[in-house]
């Protein structure tokens, strides 16, 4: 090279030895590092305490009323022992399934639009309202569905499902969007470079890569919907019977039964509410673990 570099005098090197001779500044750094470590560990432990207490309280209170009959029988009058939450379990599974069928495909499609197709004002508007929707309290969603639909079509399964779907939609959109963005543009360019069209690229390259992450996000949305209460109070209302009708008849859910049971002055009803909470917690835990498993498998 014809360019010549003129080196400035480098700082004098530290002499050999003296590894144990630490000055005050170094000791300070060491101490601060240690303090930070203890503070963060303590924070983690404190944050864990309520979580463990919830698990312990729900498990110890709920396990008593939990038995085979809990899943096969409907709720008897609050004063009576035995019976179960079959009506609520059916309602939750029914409504969450329909809500998932509505919200997951729609949410994924919206996310694909946002990441792959939309670069204009429409995409900006959708993204803005998705953000707003994420923060809308569930009771508002319930009130909206009540005012817009329930007054006309009566309480029922489909009303509850629509309410849950509205709650799930922003979660699915945002999580799918993040996952699609994680797919490197290199992969898209490779596909386009081979003459693929936009949709072919999405279908054959982007979605297979983002699939596990999208699934994880969808499962967390399902878990969220399964634990939803306020929306259902205003859309499904609750029922003492197993309801198979899609609409016209008020539907039950585990959360609604917990809500009612916990208000009872009678112990058998309260115990069943604890057991319901335990079932719900187990269900959410299962979904979360599955979601984790899927994403960890995909990362390999």
């Amino acid at each position: 090279m014809s360019t010549t570099l003129t080196p400035t005098t480098p700082p004098a090197p530290t002499g050999p030895g003296g590894l144990r001779e630490i000055d005050a500044h170094t000791r300070g750094r060491k101490r601060r590092s240690l303090i930070a470590r203890y503070v963060l560990t303590a924070g983690m432990v404190i944050a864990l305490i309520p979580l463990l207490m919830i698990i312990w309280t729900v498990a110890s209170n709920g396990v008593g009323a939990l038995g085979w009959s809990f899943f096969t029988e409907i709720e008897p009058p609050a004063r009576r022992e035995g019976g179960g939450y079959l009506n609520g379990i059916v309602g939750t599974v029914y409504m969450v399934s329909i809500a998932s069928l509505l919200a997951i495909p729609l949410g994924i499609m919206a996310a694909i639009y946002l990441v792959e197709f939309g670069h204009g004002w429409l995409a900006r508007i959708i993204r803005f309202f998705t953000d707003v929707m994420t923060g809308v309290p569930s009771v508002f969603v319930g009130l909206f569905v009540y005012a817009a639909l329930v007054r006309q079509f009566r309480f029922g399964t489909i009303m509850g499902a629509i309410g849950l779907a509205i709650m799930m939609l922003p979660i699915v959109v945002r999580s799918s969007e993040e996952m699609l963005k994680l797919v490197p543009d290199d992969m898209r360019f490779a596909s386009f470079g081979l003459g693929a069209r936009r949709w072919q690229t999405v279908q054959k390259v982007v979605l297979p890569m983002a699939g596990p992450g999208i699934t994880t996000g969808a499962m967390l949305a399902v878990a969220r919907a399964a634990g939803e209460t306020a929306v259902l109070l205003l859309t499904a209302l609750g029922s003492l019977q197993v309801v198979t009708a899609l609409s016209g008849v008020a539907q039950s859910s585990i959360t609604l039964l917990i809500y009612d049971g916990a208000k009872q002055p009678f112990d058998p009803g309260k115990e069943r509410a604890w057991a319901g909470a335990l079932v719900l917690m187990g269900f959410v835990l299962l979904l979360t673990i599955t979601a984790r498993y899927i994403s960890s498998r995909a990362r390999r």
């Binding site: 290199d186 898209r188 360019f189």
Partner: protein
């Protein structure tokens, strides 16, 4: 491409004059061999003809007023300092710039006489005929076989797919290394093998032209030589346009070299084509002082 033809083409190199070319990567002066031209200086048949092409990113010019004729069956190198727009120019040939939001083009580029930016031209069809190899090897996270079969499958070329995949892998000098593990993921190969896989993936579509954007810059010297050997073998059957930072590489493999430089235009750095001629001429008797300065390592 038969072995003998590539050997006869390589043979005259021994007799070529050796000149001083700065090796930027190692910051030392080394001698390198310039390919003796085996092609006439006049271009008889052009694959591409760029006329007064300017490319803008969001209104800011990146390259300005480029006139460039790319000959059929030869290797054309685009060289120049960082930011001179050589990669931008390369991407105009298969409309990859269309994928960058805010990127616009003025002027015209014809491919065998057809304007590739005409309204009724489908960019996907352009890219199918004009393959591209990127700087960073970007195989899909699928098997070696599926990587190569990706393009043919996109375009419904499903007859004799196995033969096509084998031919492409042989063409990319990768067959012997991967023939027993076609089902393994492409990303498990070494960097150099991945890049040859990307070349195989491109030639599986039997393109007319292969554009290479610094195909060896992410590879070690041995893998680089393998890619250069491969380029020489592909020469003739395919027209190749290669962007490279490595001047020795341009000198070793290309028939013609286009030297781009950066010009300040109202405070904006704009790329321009300084000199375009037979590689031998550009490296031994450059007509523009800037070319000579760059090639001998005095700037850039």
């Amino acid at each position: 491409m038969s072995e003998t033809s590539s050997q006869t083409r390589r043979a005259p190199e021994a007799a070529t004059p050796r000149i001083e070319v700065a090796d930027r990567d190692r910051s030392t002066d080394v001698t390198t061999t310039v390919r003796q031209s085996t092609v006439p200086s006049a271009i008889t048949e052009a694959v591409f003809e760029a006329k007064d092409v300017s490319v803008f990113y969001g209104g800011t010019p990146a390259v300005r007023n480029i006139d460039l004729k790319v000959p059929k069956g030869e290797i054309t190198a685009l060289i120049g300092p960082s930011g001179c727009g050589k990669s931008t120019m390369l991407r105009t040939f298969n409309r990859m710039n269309d994928l960058i939001p805010g990127c616009t083009l003025e002027g015209s580029i014809t491919y065998h006489g057809e304007d590739i930016y005409a309204d009724d031209i489908d960019p996907a069809e352009v890219r199918r005929r004009i393959g591209m190899v990127f700087q960073k090897p970007n195989p899909f996270g699928i098997s070696i076989y599926d990587n190569v079969a990706f393009g043919p499958r996109l375009h419904g070329m499903k007859a004799n797919l196995d033969d096509r995949v084998e031919q492409a892998l042989r063409g990319a000098a990768l067959w012997d290394e991967v023939k027993d593990k076609l089902g393994q993921p492409g990303v498990a190969l070494s960097g150099g093998q991945q890049q040859r896989l990307c070349i195989a993936r491109a030639i599986a579509l039997e393109p007319d032209v292969i554009l290479m954007d610094e195909p060896a810059s992410a590879l070690d010297p041995i893998a680089t030589l393998a890619i250069e050997d491969l380029m020489r073998q592909l020469r003739g059957q395919y027209s190749i346009v290669v962007v490279t930072h490595n001047m020795q590489q341009a000198a070793r493999v290309s028939d013609r070299t286009a030297f781009f430089s950066v010009d300040m235009e109202q405070g904006v750095r704009v790329g321009e084509l300084v000199e375009y001629d037979l590689t031998e001429k550009v490296f031994t008797a450059a007509s523009d002082p800037r070319t000579e300065a760059y090639i001998t390592g005095r700037f850039g």
